[in-house]
């Protein structure tokens, strides 16, 4: 099994799921890259089998899978034409089993847990990751614990609770809870597969491999990714680096990390050219699922973004909200505000004349909008009421 390593001090560690941080730098560890004889096994069905040479598992076990991955890459021609954009594609991660990209990481971390004989898993989350970990924990028959903040909404709580998950609402600082959970996990042998867990990040790589294949082994020029803890974009960038190490590509797409203005510690650091981000006091944007004042993977994101000549930018809540409506009403894609931030980022770069007509842009749509109906604005919708005998008139008026 490949070791874990700190990409800052280069120290390596055994692949222990209970120790995911560098004891020297206090930064998250990543799985060491595979050797340079990786192949893509195109004939195989499941993405974890296809790309297994790149992944830290020896075999794929379908009994712990819920059918994650193989998500569609959709060409967005109506938005392209309307806003005179380059070729625009959406990688639709909403079509994972629990409705978000988190499943890609959870499935790999759970397979890892089972292969090591671990019986108890956990996570710290208030949203997508809670549901994902609950579902995969149930599928594998593991005792699953989710720690949530006290003010979590009932809806989010219940869609994890239905899986038989143990849910603990914790009063107190949510950032502290992240590190406390890892400490408790180590003592009690509960594998906390939190946001920047190295095996979770290995699962996110698979999305990048699929994009590579869906473009017929050509690469997009730009990939726009919403950024919270940093785990997702780290996985995507790591995958492209490994494709290059294996001489499957000769250059990188430009990665554009997007944060909401009100939750943008990494984007702020990038704008100043800093190599370390500063924790912000509060992160309270409309895009709840990426409101992270102290992203644990923030410094790794910065290091890799500089290395790959990408950018981390921020967009306003208003831009995010508009982008969410546009994706739904022009392309039929109802995603979370966090996901729509990616399209808001495209508009931002277009306004700065940073896009060429020949570009091929991919938006990563991270999670389904159905999970947060409350952010929608009904006053912008076309809703009327009538009676059956006046229906004829109402219809004529509506779709004249």
């Amino acid at each position: 099994m490949r070791p874990l390593e700190c990409i800052f001090c280069k120290k390596t560690y055994p692949p222990d799921p209970f120790s995911p941080f560098c004891t020297r730098c206090q930064e998250p560890l990543l799985a060491a890259s595979p050797d340079t004889a990786c192949e893509i096994h195109s004939g195989r069905d499941h993405p974890l089998e296809k790309y297994i040479d790149f992944l830290p598992i020896n075999k794929f076990s379908p009994e712990f899978s819920l059918g994650e991955g193989n998500t569609p890459l959709l060409k967005l021609n109506r938005l392209k034409r309307k806003f005179i954009l380059p070729d625009l594609y959406a990688k639709n991660e909403m079509l994972n089993p629990t409705g978000s990209f988190k499943d890609r990481g959870t499935v790999l971390a759970v397979q890892r847990a089972v292969s090591l004989g671990i019986k108890k898993i956990g996570t710290v989350s208030t949203g997508n990751m809670a549901v994902s970990t609950g579902a995969y924990g149930a599928r594998a028959g593991l005792k699953t614990l989710v720690l949530v903040s006290e003010d979590v909404s009932d809806e989010k709580l219940y869609s994890a609770g239905i899986h038989g998950t143990f849910l603990i609402k914790v009063k107190g600082d949510y950032g502290a809870l992240f590190y406390k959970s890892l400490e408790i996990g180590k003592n009690k042998k509960i594998y906390f597969m939190n946001s920047v867990d190295p095996f979770r990040i290995e699962g996110y790589k698979v999305t990048a491999f699929e994009i590579f294949e869906q473009f017929n082994e050509k690469i997009p020029t730009h990939i726009f990714v919403p950024v919270s803890s940093g785990g997702h974009i780290i996985g995507l960038m790591k995958a492209f680096k490994e494709l290059k190490q294996n001489r499957m590509i000769d250059k990188f797409p430009v990665f554009i990390g997007i944060q909401p203005e009100k939750a943008s510690p990494i984007a702020r650091a990038f704008l100043k050219g800093d190599v370390k981000y500063k924790r912000i006091k509060k992160a309270e944007s409309l895009a709840q699922s990426i409101n992270n004042p102290a992203p644990p993977g923030g410094n790794i994101v910065l290091k890799m973004i500089y290395e790959l000549n990408g950018r981390v930018i921020h967009v306003t809540d208003k831009e995010i909200s508009k982008a969410q409506m546009l994706l739904a009403s022009y392309e039929g894609l109802f995603c979370l505000p966090a996901s729509a931030a990616s399209l808001a980022g495209v508009f931002r770069l277009k306004s700065e004349n940073k896009l060429n007509p020949s570009d091929r842009i991919v938006l990563i749509l991270t999670g389904s909008g159905i999970k947060n109906i409350k952010v929608l604005n009904p006053s912008e919708m076309k809703i009327t009421t009538t009676s059956l005998n006046k229906l004829d008139f109402a219809v004529s008026f509506a779709v004249k």
Copy 2:
């Protein structure tokens, strides 16, 4: 283009999307079956391309697709072992673009609309079909109208409204609205792709073809399908009939249609051996999305079920609720109560000694549970509250 036909009087009609009922029998028309030289084009990516020989379209247009189909078939080993069942599989239709099987029908009906130059589409729905039609209408740039009953919940309304759909709440009899919409549609050239639309039903066939291929061209012994209007199970049965006509199979799986006891007009007719069902006064089960007091496809379901030696049975709300919890907590599958009715049906047949250990059973999981959190019972969940400094103890207590 193949004609439409009435399976009762055998009268044929031109394939007109504005006239989906037999003028003689008042029953829904179905698309005539294709000739017997159909092939499955396994090398193709999208299911509408793979199975196009069986479908009433000449070509598949990816610009109107949202990546529907190719849904996972999951083996449910934990439920099998726990309840000593035959081999049990779930066809996970929750992983369609708007979270339900409706997308399979909508995509085909929308492609049909576009190919005929129709610019306005509509549907009558309060739930899954509203969202599906709204999303695909937006993707294709069509004016889309959804008629809903006055008491529809805001959540369902908004997840259709975000797509720019015209939503009309209609006061009055919901059953009458179904037929009124078709009348208005015919006059105003709005293609109402309602529940038993013949092209919608052709889309549902694709699920059966995928199951056939996922079993390596063997067939399951039983397929359990929740039944509301009847459109879904009609499509599945029609597909297997066409596989047999093309000599790809030599016998049929046993189709088991499931209705909730409080919404079971078709099951009641089946139990009495009747060939026509009687409309019931109210349909008020827990499984809201299949509460249909007057299913327009009910008589076709009965005719085909008798022909294929299937059954239509009913299960109680309590059985449905228990099955929903079991699917989530044993297999990580959080589906709507309507979908869980399929598993409740399996338990029912097992208690009647109607299953053999060598059987291969497929449950069709029709829609995602996230769409209706309100039916869940939090008192059955494991939720506690603590503070950060007592967390250690709370964790020990939870997952001892």
